[in-house]
Symmetry: C2
Subunit: 349 residues, 2 copies
DNA sequence: CGGCCCTGAGAAAACCTTTTCCCAACCCGC
DNA sequence: GCGGGTTGGGAAAAGGTTTTCTCAGGGCCG
C-alpha cells in the first residue's frame, strides 16, 4: 500500500560528476578536469566558465577515483592500543589536526593488545591503500601487537617502541625530569626525593637517572628512588617511607613524582600528616593530567609531555615520508614542558 | 654520484592486481574475479587453481576500485569534539570494534568546537565517499558545530544532541540515577542527598528528577538538589553545606553525586570531618571513571553509562541504515549499570 | 603564399575491479 | 543428424578521474 504523503527522501540523488559538469559547460571531461586543476591550456573564459559551472552544480571530485589513479589515497592509519588511557587522545588529536589541513584523513584503529585485531586493522588499511601508518601506544617501551616491518608504505612510531631502522617519536623523559629537578633547585630545595612507578617501565629508569644526574651535577647527595605503582595509594605509602622516620632534619624538602596520580597521593598524605605543601615540601608530578593536577590542593606543578605536539610532529613526519623525503631513522625525542602551578612555592626568602 | 651499495628499498613493488593473478592462472580477469568472489560458473578445478594462484601471489583486492564500483566505501566518519575528555574514547573504541569485523573502517574527525574544522572534516568525508557518519560529543545536550542535516548519507548521533528526525543514542541518565537511589534504599538509607553539576547541563536535571521521583515513590522527604560544578572542589563545598549545620540528626545518610569527581571531593571532605564512609554516609558517583573511582577511599560505587556499548550500538545502527534498513528516528536511551564498590556498605544490621 | 609553430581543446588510455551479456562447445533426446 | 539446453569461460562496459597524445586552426615569418 503506497503511502501518498511520504516526505521527500533525504536526497538520494547521487553526487555530481565531472562528466556532468563538462556537459553543462559544453566541454569534454578532459578539459573540465584540467580547468579545475589549473592544468592544461585554454582561454581564461573557458576555464572560468567551467569553474563557475562546477561551483553552481556543487561539484566535488570523487576521492576514490582520484586515489585509484594517483596511487595516493590521502589517508593514513592510526594504530593505538591505548583506548582507555589518557595518552592517546591528545596524541590522536594532534595527528588529526596536523593532517586535516593537508587533506589527509585518519583511520582510527583500536587494536587493544590483540594480535588478531591488529592483523585485521593492518590488512584493512593496506586494502584501503592508506599512504602510511602511525603506530601509537600507551607505553613508550612496548611494541604494538602487530608487525609493521615490511609494509611497502611508510610507518612512523609515536609514543611506542619503534622497529629497528624505523622512525620513532617519543617524549624526552630525561629532559622532562631535568626540568622538574632543576626547577626545585632554582627554588632552593636541596633534599629532593623521587617517587615513581614500577621498575618494569623504561621511563621510570630514564627519569630516575636524570633526577640523579642533576643532583650529582649540583653536588647534592643522591639516594635511591622509590619505585612502586602508578597510583595514589603508592604515593601515600611513599610518604610513609619518606616522612615516617622521626627527625624532621632527614626529611626531603621536595618530592618529584613519576606521575600525577602518585603526586596526588603524596600531597594528600602530606596534608594528613600536617606537612605543608609547598611551604615544607614542594611536589612536582609528571604527565600534566590537568584534571588531576588542578584538583590537588594546592594545584600541582607538573611536567607536560606535549603529546599533541608529538602527534602533530608524527603526522608531519609521516607526510614527508609519504612524499618521498627520506627521514633519518631512529628515535627523535621531543622536549617536555614544565607547567608551574602552586605545589612548589616561590623561592625561599 | 650513484651509490653502489644501496640497501634494497623497503619494497617499492606495487601490490598484486587481479590482472596479474588472472594472467598467472591463465584465465581472464572476469573469471578470476568470479572465482575469488564465489560468483559465476566454472569447474571446481579452475576455481581452486585461481584461488591458489591468488594466495600464492598474495593478492588483495584494491578497496578503492571496489568502492568506486559498488558505491560503498566501507568507511564511516566519526565526528567528535571531545578530544580531551574521557567520554569519547570508550565510545570511539566501541564504534571501531563494532565495525572492524564487518570490514568497515572509521575516520577519526576531531572538530573541537570549531566550525571551520567541522566543515573541513565533513567535506573530506563526503569526498571520500564515506557510507555514513557518526556524530559524537562531550555533552548529550549540545550540538556539534556542524550541519549534518541534508547529507544524502545516513547519520547517527551518539552522546550528543541529534538533529530533529535523526536517530540518536544516549545513555539513560534517569535510569542510571534510579539505579543509584534504589541501591541506597535497598541498603536501608533514607536521607539521600543529591550533589550535581551546573544547572546548564540537561543531564543534571534528568538525574535530579529521577532522584526525586524515586524518593517520592517511596514516600520519603524530598529536598532540593545541590547544583554546582563538576569538580572535587564543589564536592567539598557541598559537604560543608550538607554537614555543616549542627545536629547529626538532620544529616543525610547517603549522597548521590552527579559525577565521580564530585564524589571524590565529597568522600575526602567527609573523611576530613571524621564522618565515616560508608558507615555513616554512603556515596555513589556517576560515570564510573575507573581511575577515580578506584582511588577514592573507600573505592567508589558508581553508575557506568556503558559508553563502549553505546558506541557499538551506534556503529551497528549506522550500518543497518547504510544497508537501507529504515530506523525509527528519535532518541534511543541505553541503560546504565551500577558498579558496586565499597562506598555504600552493606545493608544495615 | 607556404611552412612552421603555437594555441586551445578533445579522444582515449589508464587506474582496478565487478557484472552483464555473450559465445562456443558439448551433451542429450528425438 | 539436428535443435535445444547446459556448461565453462571471456569480452566489454561501468565507475570517475587524470594525463598523455593528437589534432585542427590560426598567426607569423620568410
Amino acid at each position: 500500500m503506497p503511502s501518498n504523503a511520504e516526505p521527500a527522501p533525504v536526497s538520494a540523488k547521487p553526487p555530481v560528476t565531472l562528466r556532468e559538469v563538462a556537459a553543462a559547460a559544453g566541454v569534454s571531461v578532459a578539459t573540465a578536469s584540467k580547468a579545475l586543476n589549473g592544468q592544461g591550456r585554454m582561454t581564461v573564459e573557458t576555464r572560468e566558465r567551467i569553474r563557475e559551472t562546477a561551483r553552481r552544480l556543487g561539484f566535488r571530485p570523487n576521492s576514490l577515483a582520484q586515489s585509484l589513479l594517483r596511487k595516493r589515497s590521502f589517508t593514513v592509519g592510526l594504530l593505538t592500543n591505548d583506548t582507555y588511557g589518557r595518552f592517546s587522545l591528545p596524541l590522536m588529536a594532534g595527528v588529526s589536526d596536523a593532517l586535516v589541513d593537508k587533506g589527509v584523513s585518519v583511520f582510527l584503529c583500536n587494536v587493544e593488545d590483540d594480535q588478531r585485531l591488529g592483523q585485521l586493522h593492518v590488512e584493512a588499511m593496506l586494502d584501503k591503500r592508506v599512504d602510511g601508518i602511525i603506530a601509537t601506544g600507551k607505553r613508550i617501551d612496548r611494541h604494538l601487537p602487530v608487525d609493521l616491518s615490511n609494509l611497502r608504505i611508510p610507518v612512523v612510531y609515536a609514543f611506542t617502541q619503534p622497529d629497528p631502522g624505523a622512525v620513532g617519536l617519543v617524549s624526552d623523559d630525561a629532559g622532562g625530569a631535568r626540568l622538574a629537578v632543576e626547577h626545585f633547585l632554582r627554588l632552593g630545595r636541596r633534599r629532593i626525593a623521587h617517587v615513581s612507578g614500577p621498575a618494569s617501565f623504561a621511563v621510570v629508569h630514564a627519569r630516575a637517572k636524570a633526577w640523579r644526574d642533576v643532583l650529582k651535577e649540583n653536588g647534592l647527595a643522591v639516594s635511591e628512588p622509590l619505585l612502586g605503582a602508578w597510583s595514589e595509594g603508592w604515593g601515600h605509602e611513599a610518604v610513609e617511607k619518606l616522612f615516617g622516620k622521626a627527625g624532621r632534619d632527614g626529611w626531603p624538602d621536595a618530592v618529584f613524582c613519576g606521575n600525577d596520580q602518585i603526586a596526588r597521593g603524596v600531597i594528600d598524605a602530606l596534608r594528613e600528616r600536617g606537612i605543608r605543601v609547598p611551604d615544607d615540601v614542594g611536589v612536582i608530578g609528571f604527565d600534566n593530567w590537568e584534571i588531576v593536577a588542578e584538583a590537588t590542593r594546592p594545584p600541582l606543578t607538573s611536567v607536560d609531555m606535549n603529546l599533541s605536539t608529538l602527534g602533530r610532529e608524527a603526522g608531519l613526519a609521516l607526510l614527508s615520508l609519504v612524499d618521498g623525503q627520506p627521514a633519518a631513522p631512529g628515535i627523535r625525542k621531543l622536549p617536555c614542558r614544565l607547567v608551574v602551578r602552586q605545589s612548589c612555592g616561590g623561592p625561599p626568602e
